[in-house]
Amino acid sequence: MVLIQIFLVFTIIAALIAVEAPSPLSSIISLGAVGFGLSIAFLWLGAPDIAITQVVVEIITLVILIRATIGKGVTEVRGNESKPLLIGSLILFGLGSAFFANYLSAFPEFGKTAMDVPMDVFSETPSQYYLKFGLEKVGGANVVNDILLDFRAYDTLGEATVLFTAVLGAITLLNKEVFFGKGGEK
């Protein structure tokens, strides 16, 4: 538990460096530190599938970001951040903290899941059902994969659709002929 908190603090520090570093390359590398630190935290949190996925996605994200920024010249954007924006963001942050503090008690305390809290109406939570019948009904020992590919397969189908649409949009945006017509760039 202390280990998880240490990793979370590490990701917070890395995120601060990523936000404040002047050079794009160093801030992208710090962003990578956030993702990889979180993936190690996921391993300690008992979620190996997510740790693997996080590593793969983080690498691809870093490649995309580096490809987009390197060679574009450092845009030195600094100084005179507007006062109203800063005050507004502080107010937003205060409101968010207030909501968070208000609803924090509704979550089960750290170290307990929704499965450990007794319920009034239903006898078991969906997670308990999946854990109980995952092997019997789907045949996979890994319950997370059972949920992804069988119990909630429509979610996965929707995910594939969203991913396809986003990539299609990116390709369309980056293709000059599609964007500007046959004549090339204006």
């Binding site: 936000v19 992208i28 996605v57 307990k112 899941t113 319950v143 390709i171």
Partner: protein, 116 residues
């Protein structure tokens, strides 16, 4: 509770970056950090002290497994969310590159000022 608070602080760092930075790449980074924070928070909700990963091992009784495994439902949904965030990042970066080709800068105030 302190652990939940750390995930919230990570989210706040991302929010700060989105609101206060003028560089488009920094804004995209803020959105990525916020996604990471939300994913971490959902996984933290499904954490069980001295629990194990929701993978059934040989010779393990189902009743014991139900009482010791982590919550598999947030994990399955977070995997979906992580993969979708990759597509979203690709789309955002494509738009940013397009804007750079058009205006020659990542500064959002400059983009607002020039022809457009």
């Amino acid at each position: 509770m302190l652990t939940y608070l750390l995930a919230f602080i990570l989210f706040a760092v991302g929010l700060y970056s989105v609101i206060n930075k003028r560089n488009l790449i920094k804004i995209i980074m803020g959105i990525i950090i916020m996604e990471h924070a939300v994913n971490a928070f959902l996984i933290l909700i499904g954490y069980r002290l001295s629990g194990e990963a929701p993978i059934l091992e040989e010779g393990m009784a189902i009743s014991e497994f139900v009482n010791t495994a982590m919550d598999p439902l947030p994990q399955a949904l977070v995997i979906t969310s992580i993969v979708i965030s990759l597509g979203v990042v690709a789309l955002m970066v494509a738009i940013a590159v397009r804007l750079y080709q058009h205006y020659g800068t990542f500064d959002i105030t400059e983009i607002r000022k020039l022809r457009g």
